[in-house]
Symmetry: C2
Subunit: 359 residues, 2 copies
């Protein structure tokens, strides 16, 4: 009987597939007698609904898409999981689409809307330089969501929704924490600082904190990651930190603007015989698992990823249903102080930094 | 002129969209004169083709799908990237579909083939208990691919393609390496040991190596990960190692059957004041970046992920084109000996293992 489908059950009961679906899903819009009849047949034939069958009711048009830039980003896996759960609850089907870094995600979205008659779109990752004109071509609700996404300030807020943390402010707070620990020579590992990118916003938070404290910004401590290596990667955090060490510029702390960079930074320091945090403090940003399980565990600014993902999905459904218009929701990140950071050493000591053991 | 599309260019040149596409893609099947005329117009109008435009030629039926179980698996990000590159080169469009652990991926695939008229399917992750009868319903070429996939031995090899490493053999070799280092009490962190799963195959390799060496298998050292926590996760490696430490069972090495578990294992050991590798050696499996950048860097069995992904994509295209039938391609993994493993301590010492500092 394993081959029985929901359609067979519908035929056996003399009802439509959608009625069987409603019975299975405990939907209120079903006559109680019909429901009990359907459930009786289901039991009699030992019918095990699987997700696909349960979703037969879905039509092509009950579909939303998540466009992802940076599928290897460990933050996105968890977000997608939550978005999928919410999507299933609302009986939408979900399409994941990986967008290459050099692809224009809005263009991709416009094509997808045409081809697949999407009901809504979530953009995960990437940064946004799209013109209002282009954005206007997106004829369904969409959200520039959360992690890795700057709020596109050049577009009227009335034209789009966003769910994110305040990257500039949280980065300011992380830098302020390091300053409070006595650090003055704070290197920053910075990536993708194009206008309106999170890279830029996080860099701005850093410079703002230094300026408020009256500390001149030392350009030699602003280390941009290698352009020809994947920007947000352990490898790039490692390479950039090696070049920082080789430069001979003194520093007592590294603020890596992403945890994945911080992991690479720690590895480079460890290999160079630099003790963390005794010689150099390292802090990250994002709150991925890896930062917590690293040795030493890495101080970070934790984004509330699951809440942000859930809010994103729900806002999209509300927009699709016409219950809400464009909204901008800011979450607060949380400073998680861990083993990798502590008080700065005396200035004299900091100049004794080994330049790196490994060639 | 940014709004000019490939269709406009085709109109301006008096040719079809496919001809413009061929000119853009340097395709050999185009009259050289036509090509230069098209390219001239493109230059004249400053037309910048984007990927979507370049792909307009694609029809819905030139589509393949990748069904992913375990989207958070850091191995899959890199594989998807390679598969996408190959897919674009062959002018297919690609659909990614995340399948939940409790979903039947073949059922999902059967639905997708109907709905989207897919040309081929790649299954990434998961294990396969599908009946031949069910498999027969898949009417397009498909590959049970690579990482995280056991070759389904209960299905005739004539019915499917596979690309993978020999999980049993590579796991045997990793255990043999630890034995050679003098370890006798080797704990294994094991996950998802359902029949034909990679978890089972890797466990079998371990027990086989011990038996050949005449070492009795100690069931207390076979530690199955927590069932209610994501199976392959740092958290589960951490929790399982904590419970191993708490058990008081002596051991001088941990073979974690996935790098992501090994990271958690290392963290638990570090917190318990156990030195790696002086007190306990740790080895993983897979070869994810994290193992390389961890402190200490983690000895692992590296799967040639990129080659496997490329081979998978190309085999699928060959199958779709009828150039190849079902094939089974085995890759060799590579033992990467790193900081986390070394010679076993004397047996007397190993009994002095601290039971864990942290409660």
């Amino acid at each position: 009987m394993s081959e029985l489908t929901i359609k067979d059950i519908a035929r056996l009961c003399g009802v439509g597939v959608s009625t069987v679906s409603r019975a299975l899903n405990n939907h209120p819009d079903i006559n109680p007698e019909t429901k009990s009849r359907v459930l009786k047949v289901i039991k009699e034939y030992d019918f095990v609904p699987n997700n696909s069958a349960r979703n037969l009711k879905r039509t092509e048009s009950d579909r939303i898409a998540v466009l992802i830039k940076g599928i290897a980003n460990p933050l996105f896996g968890g977000m997608i999981k939550v978005i999928e759960e919410e999507t299933q609850r609302e009986k939408y089907s979900l399409e994941l689409k990986h967008v290459e870094y050099n692809e224009d995600e809005v263009e991709v979205a416009i094509e997808m809307v045409k081809e697949k008659r999407l009901k809504g779109i979530i953009f995960l990752g990437g940064y946004f330089l799209h013109s209002e004109e282009r954005i206007h071509k997106l004829t369904v609700p969409y959200i520039f969501s959360t992690i890795g996404t700057a709020v596109p300030e050049h577009i009227s807020p009335a034209l789009y929704s966003s769910v994110s943390v305040d990257d500039r402010r949280e980065s300011y707070l992380m830098t302020a924490y390091l300053l409070q620990q006595g650090h003055r020579n704070i290197a920053i590992l910075s990536a993708e600082t194009e206008i309106n990118s999170i890279g830029q916003l996080r860099l701005e938070g850093y410079t703002q904190a230094l300026k408020e404290k009256g500390i001149p910004v030392n350009e030699n401590l602003i280390r941009r990651v290698e352009d020809d290596v994947e920007h947000y990667s352990m490898e790039n955090g490692y390479l950039t930190t090696r070049s920082l060490l080789a430069s001979g510029e003194p520093f007592t702390a590294i603020f890596a603007t992403a945890d994945i960079l911080a992991v690479g930074a720690c590895r480079a320091l460890v290999e160079a015989g630099v003790r963390i945090p005794e010689d150099v403090s390292v802090t990250g940003f994002d709150g991925i698992d890896m930062a917590e399980y690293y040795n030493p565990s890495i101080t970070t600014m934790k984004q509330p990823v699951k809440d942000m993902a859930k809010t994103t999905a729900r806002l999209l459904f509300d927009m699709i249903a016409g219950r809400k218009g464009y909204e901008h929701i800011l979450f607060s990140a949380e400073l998680a102080v861990r083993e990798s950071s502590g008080p700065a050493k005396g200035l004299g000591e900091s100049k004794q930094l080994p330049a790196g053991k490994k060639g």
